[in-house]
């Protein structure tokens, strides 16, 4: 197990290194100049001032030199500094991390609840229509981008009905009720989007388990349909769905990015989007690397969990 863990950790580290190179190079291939964005496309900046700013930000150095400066800084716990505000990237991430984690957690809870309900419902209710509706839900949920759901929910609940605020963020520590009211629509939006693939996987798993011998036995004993599904089918279908849940958890942060922007939720999402528009390289690099690390770590955790749950999957030990 230790060897397996070490190998997986090494692979994860290599993946993150690759991601860091990719982000760094791609950003510098983008058209646009951070120094121009920094001073604004104003009509009265001396080009010499822009040149001085480029020098100050180290943008005149060759890309490998810039990369080394960044990556060696990370080794020292430094993610660099925003080209715009004088905040360190770690400070900016710190300002936005809690809202993102809150939204991600809420979105994930909504997604899991929706997934379980929508998967179990067609299995319990033996009718065509629930299955078809849930099928349509998964297609729409997977096909439509999150901002579409966000805008539709916003138009209905905020603009038309006026029952929920249209966006913004208040820290939980400042105003619990206000925070929760603001959280409802973004969490619902994120939850809908995340639930669609979960529903699809869980339904497939439920279908597989439904044909198993122990389920037929339970049914043969005369146990009610609902009880069979909840006690015998669902628990056994959860393990195959774990992979899907792992991917969902890993991707929840990136899903939150778009949702945050629509609802002006002060999280990492809006930080990334704004930074891309401004070509604030240091902030983009730091934030994307953090999201990539979260994705890799969650997937690693899921793999390890699999290893714990099913010894056959501990590839390294089997090979030895």
């Amino acid at each position: 197990m230790a060897g397996y863990l070490l190998r997986r950790l090494a692979v994860s580290a290599l993946m993150l290194l690759g991601v860091s190179v990719l982000i760094f190079v791609v950003l510098r291939l983008l058209p646009g100049d951070p120094t121009v964005a920094r001073v604004g496309a104003a009509q009265n900046i001396d080009p010499a001032a822009l040149a001085a700013l480029r020098e100050e930000l180290g943008l005149n150095d060759p890309i490998p030199v810039q990369y080394w400066a960044w990556i060696s800084g990370i080794a020292d716990g430094e993610l660099g500094r925003s080209y715009f505000s004088q905040f360190d990237v770690t400070v900016l991430i710190g300002q936005r991390l809690v809202p993102t984690l809150e939204l991600s957690a809420a979105g994930l809870v909504v997604a899991v609840l929706l997934a379980v309900v929508l998967s179990v419902l067609p299995t319990v209710v033996r009718s065509r229509w629930p299955g078809r509706l849930v099928g349509a839900y998964t297609v729409v949920g997977m096909a439509a981008p999150p901002f579409v759901f966000g805008i539709v929910l916003l138009a209905i609940f905020s603009v038309k009905l006026g029952v929920l605020p249209e966006g913004g963020y208040v820290p939980l520590t400042e105003d619990v009720a206000g925070n929760l009211r603001l959280l409802v629509l973004p969490a619902l939006t994120l939850g809908i989007c995340l639930s669609a693939p979960l529903v699809r996987h869980l339904r497939a798993a439920l279908s597989d388990v439904e044909g198993a011998a122990h389920v037929r036995t339970a049914t043969g004993k005369g146990i009610g349909r609902r009880a069979v599904v909840l006690r015998h089918v669902l628990p056994n279908a959860m393990l195959p769905a774990l992979t899907s849940l792992g991917v969902t958890v890993g991707g929840v942060l990136s899903g939150a990015v778009v949702v945050e922007y629509v609802f002006a939720w002060q999280g990492l999402g809006s930080l990334i989007v704004d930074s891309v528009f401004k070509r604030d390289y240091a902030v983009i690099q730091g934030t994307v690397l953090l999201l990539a690390a979260a994705f890799v770590m969650v997937n690693l955790a899921v793999d390890l969990l699999y290893g714990v749950l099913d010894p056959r999957l501990r590839v390294g030990r089997v090979r030895r």
Partner: protein
């Protein structure tokens, strides 16, 4: 996939339906005005004003300000030696008085005693000097430097006396120094945490591009501000911002899209814009590269611009066409209405284009911004349709903002065949800046225009002569040259529109659309 598309269409239809319904029952729109004086009654002390905008505030250094989204903070957090009046003149701020020598080359400012920064440090003439020196440092990207580049030396004679000597005379120096804002230069490393100004409000918290929270500065040297606090909130898009205004969650919304302004300024809400708009919708051209290195090509383009239709369609009637093709608003007293009008004349444009080698089948590119400034694209579409009538293709390319600006900015870039849509804000004449922007040696116009000596001489006169016939004539000369040479195509004059709730009083709009909130408050 087909099913998904159906769902998408249904969602969009629902969205459009709800948007349409939300406008139903609105009353007649307000006419824009420059001052929020609903009821013209007294202002009650206290309250928190929520100020909404779609653009975020990225940083808090007042002298390297990067966007219009930050301008409302300029008078709230920081003070200058002088400050604006609604008539576009200077009035005392940190300087109680000033005087110049008869040749306008030496200016003495008497500063208020006992003023302190928000961090408690005393503001003195030496502090003012530090700020001027920083702004004038070529390595500091301070936009205001262009306005005061005639300064030779700044001297702190004593704590309350500041002497500024100039290389060339400048009778407008008190106006030109307005935007040099005083902050604790020795503590710049903390400016985004403390702001460190001497203004009526001080910083409570700042989340870049999201929120700026200000609270009343009880140690302010001037009249006690009316409000307890001001909260500046950035919204993701116009839909969210407009909804917040309608729901009463925002008291003032800045930079409202012209096509939605009338719909928002109902139910007593006040529509605000500058009395003399000094923002200009322009197409920047590279006059050093083909085809616009040929003056006839530029002139043709000016005649091909249906300014009246463009301003009506894109700015919903809240803009003024500028057919003399100069950065002077028709309401300004220096505007020269006797200049040849570049009225829409497609036949003339076609002839001039042909003389410049732009014949049928030629293609030009219109360079605009994606996501924002739909007005520019609307204008481009009108031009596209008109040029098509004379056989010229106009390709409209929209780009995200960094890509857009990198193409032609700063001065010196080559961008042949391109019309770069842009929006320029200037201080209205008698300030020289709008016209000096084109000046050959010092001007920073991205048009790369080699201004003729006649133009440069006129600017030198405007900048150095006191009010009088000589200066008036120079203003006319400069406008005449621009009218003839067309280094930039000016479509119209306008200013950012804002909407304020009925209970707001005491705020006013500066020439380019900046809202002044320093004396704002709620109706008593």
């Amino acid at each position: 996939m087909g099913r998904a598309q159906n769902w998408g269409a249904a969602a969009l239809a629902l969205l459009l339906l709800t948007s349409a319904c939300s406008n139903a029952g609105d009353n007649a729109p307000e006419q824009p005005r420059a001052t929020a004086d609903s009821g013209k009654g007294p202002i009650a002390p206290g309250g928190t004003l929520v100020y909404g905008q779609i653009a975020g505030v990225s940083q808090l250094d007042p002298n390297t300000i990067a966007s219009g989204a930050q301008t409302q903070l300029q008078t709230l957090l920081w003070s200058g030696l002088t400050t604006w009046t609604p008539e576009n003149t200077a009035k005392p701020d940190l300087a109680e008085s000033w005087q110049s020598t008869p040749d306008h080359r030496t200016w003495t400012f008497k500063l208020r005693p006992g003023v302190k920064y928000h961090n408690g440090k005393t503001f003195t003439a030496a502090e003012a000097k530090k700020n001027f020196d920083r702004v004038l440092d070529p390595a500091v990207p301070a936009q205001v430097a262009a306005k005061i580049d005639m300064i030779d030396a700044v001297t702190a004679v004593d704590d309350t006396t500041l002497v500024i000597t100039l290389e060339t005379p400048n009778p407008e120096l008190p106006v030109d120094v307005i935007d040099v804002r005083m902050t604790d230069v020795d503590d710049l490393a903390n400016i985004d945490r403390s702001a460190n100004g001497t203004g009526p409000y001080k910083l409570k918290s700042f989340v870049p591009d999201q929120t700026v929270e200000l609270v009343r500065h009880d140690g302010y040297w001037g009249p006690r501000p009316n409000l307890d606090a001001i909260r500046i909130v950035r919204y993701a898009d116009a839909t969210a911002a407009n909804a917040a205004l309608r729901a009463g969650q925002v008291h003032v919304l800045w930079s409202v899209a012209p096509d939605s302004a009338a719909g928002l300024a109902t139910e007593g809400r006040q529509l605000l814009t500058a009395a003399e708009p000094a923002g200009f919708v322009v197409w920047e051209l590279d006059t050093s590269a083909a085809p616009f290195n040929n003056p006839k090509a530029r002139e043709a383009l000016s005649y091909a611009a249906n300014r009246t239709e463009m301003m009506a369609a894109a700015y919903a009637g809240y803009g003024v066409p500028t057919p003399t093709n100069a950065p002077v608003n028709p309401k300004n007293r220096f505007y020269d209405p006797t200049l040849p009008s570049h009225g829409f004349d497609l036949d003339r444009a076609k002839r001039l284009f042909a003389e410049a080698g732009i014949t049928e089948g030629s293609t030009l590119t219109f360079w605009a911004v994606a996501g924002n400034y739909q007005e520019w694209t609307t204008i481009g579409q009108i031009l596209q349709q008109d040029l098509a009538k004379i056989g010229i293709t106009l390709e409209i390319q929209t780009n995200e903002v960094s890509t857009w600006s990198a193409k032609f900015y700063p001065k010196g870039k080559s961008y042949p065949n391109l019309l770069a849509a842009n929006y320029l804000s200037f201080t209205p004449p008698p300030d020289s800046y709008a016209l000096a922007w084109f000046e050959g040696a010092k001007g920073t116009c991205e048009c790369n225009w080699a201004a003729p000596a006649e133009y440069n001489d006129a600017i030198a006169t405007i900048e150095s002569a006191a009010e009088g016939p000589e200066r008036d004539a120079a203003f006319k000369t400069a406008q005449r040259v621009l009218n003839r040479e067309n280094p930039v195509i000016f479509i119209g004059s306008t200013a950012f529109l804002s909407v304020a709730q009925p209970e707001l009083r005491g705020l006013w709009v500066q020439a380019e659309g900046t809202l002044h909130l320093e004396e704002a408050g709620f109706a008593a």
